[in-house]
């Protein structure tokens, strides 16, 4: 953040495409990225009903390989990577010794002793430094920052399979959610993963940067009749929020643990070596003082990141994400609240720029694939 002025902003291989599509470009995590093309609402709805195409090449890729690669990944990731088969992926967390989030990530097991970690763009440099340090302690394994070797294109939405299938020999229906395969997409060598960040079916496609332009255009052309549109970071954020997915830097960070964030399900307790495990065990035994909950507004208004949750005139919690969701058409969000106020149906009071507004604690995700708005 402080070095922004003397660091040149980075551009993905698709930058010229975004400009030609008249995207509104914004700086994001050191990258110049498309915020929106036709508009966040229409892009969001396209993903829910048809499909949207995202450039997420800014995401960081870190590979860990070597005889002891599994041990290394088990040390840094709070899930249990030993449970992964080759070709399978897992959502996980990179934790501090205090059990708090350095980052969240997806781990892909490429080979028995080769893992690909996809991390947040804004954390990639910090993550790589941390991971390299930890991997050294393990033995025969090395971490490589391979971010520049990949462009990452995501197609998300119910039409994804039908739009992508004509462009590849890989049998896309055979790839189960959170599995991946190899193949060619529009004649580019690709890793095709059935993962995403929208709560919708879809694929994330890793291709060499010099092939990104060709793949991007081939997917848009293939999807034209199905109404596939390019979608930006704005829609990506509202989609992930509707789907109840946490955003590092907003909902989770180095002050919050997976247990507090309602992500206990990602913890691989069978992994006895991950950093932060002792602290999480303690926290589990002691019970939680606060929980991340989903809420929907009862009163008019949109609670936003940073707004306080109040009780008897005192701040007791904080909103971490909030928006008017395009598909559900209501104002929802996530907030840390005291455990006593975290049960479903509880009413919480949020200070929206000086005005008290009530919200109700509801189950996340707010939107589940296939359900009606």
């Amino acid at each position: 953040m402080t070095d922004a002025a003397d660091t040149e902003i980075r551009k993905t291989a698709l930058n010229a495409r975004h400009r030609a599509l008249q995207a509104r470009m914004v700086p994001f995590a050191g990258w110049e990225m498309p915020l929106e093309y036709a508009g966040i609402t229409s892009e969001h709805l396209a993903v829910r009903t048809r499909a949207g195409l995202f450039d997420v090449s800014h995401m960081g890729e870190i590979e860990i390989a070597g005889k002891d690669a599994l041990l290394a990944v088990q040390r840094i990731a709070c899930s249990d990577p030993a449970l992964l088969q080759v070709g399978q992926a897992q959502y996980s967390g990179l934790l501090t010794p205090e059990g708090t989030f350095i980052d969240d990530l997806i781990i892909y097991r490429m080979a028995p002793s080769h893992f690909l970690l996809v991390v947040n763009a804004g954390n990639a440099a910090k993550d790589f430094e941390w991971i390299s340090e930890q991997v050294k302690a393990v033995g025969n394994a090395a971490a490589i920052d391979s971010s520049s070797r990949y462009a990452l294109i995501a197609i998300q939405g119910p039409a994804s399979l039908d739009v992508l299938q004509p462009l590849t020999g890989a049998d896309l229906a055979e790839i189960q959610p959170f599995w991946f395969s190899y193949g060619e997409v529009a004649n580019a060598r690709a890793t095709i993963a059935r993962t995403g960040y929208t709560g919708e079916d879809g694929y994330e496609i890793f291709v060499p940067p010099n092939m990104a332009d060709k793949v991007w255009q081939a997917i848009l052309d293939s999807g034209e009749s199905a109404g596939v549109v390019p979608a930006g970071l704005g829609a990506r954020d509202t989609l992930r929020l509707e789907a109840g997915m946490r955003l590092h830097g907003s909902d989770i960070d180095e002050t919050t643990t997976p247990l507090e964030a309602g992500l206990g399900w990602i913890i691989g307790w069978t992994n006895e070596t991950f950093i932060g495990r002792e602290r999480l065990l303690e926290q589990k035994a002691q019970g939680l003082a606060r929980n991340l909950v989903g809420f929907e507004m009862i009163d008019r208004g949109i609670a936003r990141h940073g707004h306080r949750v109040m009780q008897d005139g005192e701040p007791v919690g904080v909103v971490t994400s909030g928006t008017q969701t395009p598909h559900l058409g209501k104002a929802v969000g996530m907030a840390y609240v005291p455990t006593a106020q975290s049960s479903l149906g509880s009413t919480i009071e949020i200070d929206i720029r000086g005005r008290a507004a009530n919200a109700r604690v509801v189950k996340m995700p707010f939107y589940k694939k296939g359900s009606q708005a």
């Binding site: 509104r24 915020l35 929106e36 508009g39 966040i40 609402t41 229409s42 704005g234 954020d237 509202t238 008019r300 208004g301 949109i302 936003r304 928006t323 008017q324 395009p326 104002a331 720029r353």
Partner: protein, 124 residues
């Protein structure tokens, strides 16, 4: 989108159209373009007094919140409740989407605001 000549503009990207002693206030095409899809508006009650330069409401897009500033002083005599239910109208037709009607205490203050040409040169 064309900027009509029948009104004045502000550096906060609002427009104000005076007829008699009553003025309609809205935001410009440039403002709606910058905001993106408008999803929520908070507008004052009829009878509230606007103070020139102070915030009198807010307009929210999916991504951002922006305050509405009173271009001139006056009393709110009408609020466009239809906009509260259909805030997207502001994107579709910003120069017809008045938010409040205000009884202006000093018509000279309106005259002193930017005209169309001045506002467009501000946009560059």
């Amino acid at each position: 989108m064309a900027y009509p000549n029948d009104r004045k503009y502000t550096k906060d990207h609002e427009w104000i159209r005076l007829s008699g002693d009553t003025a309609e206030i809205g935001i410009t095409d440039f403002a709606q373009e910058q905001l993106g899809d408008v999803v929520f508006m908070e507008l004052p009650e009829v009878g509230s007094q606007l103070i020139a330069g102070d915030a009198f409401g807010s307009i929210e897009s999916v991504k951002a919140v922006s305050e509405l500033f009173a271009p001139v002083a006056g009393e709110v005599v009408e609020v466009n409740d239809a906009l509260k239910n259909h805030p997207e109208t502001v994107n579709a037709d910003p120069h017809a989407s008045w938010m409040v009607k205000v009884r202006v205490s000093d018509a000279g203050a309106v005259a002193a605001l930017l005209d169309n040409a001045q506002y467009q040169s501000l946009l560059g």
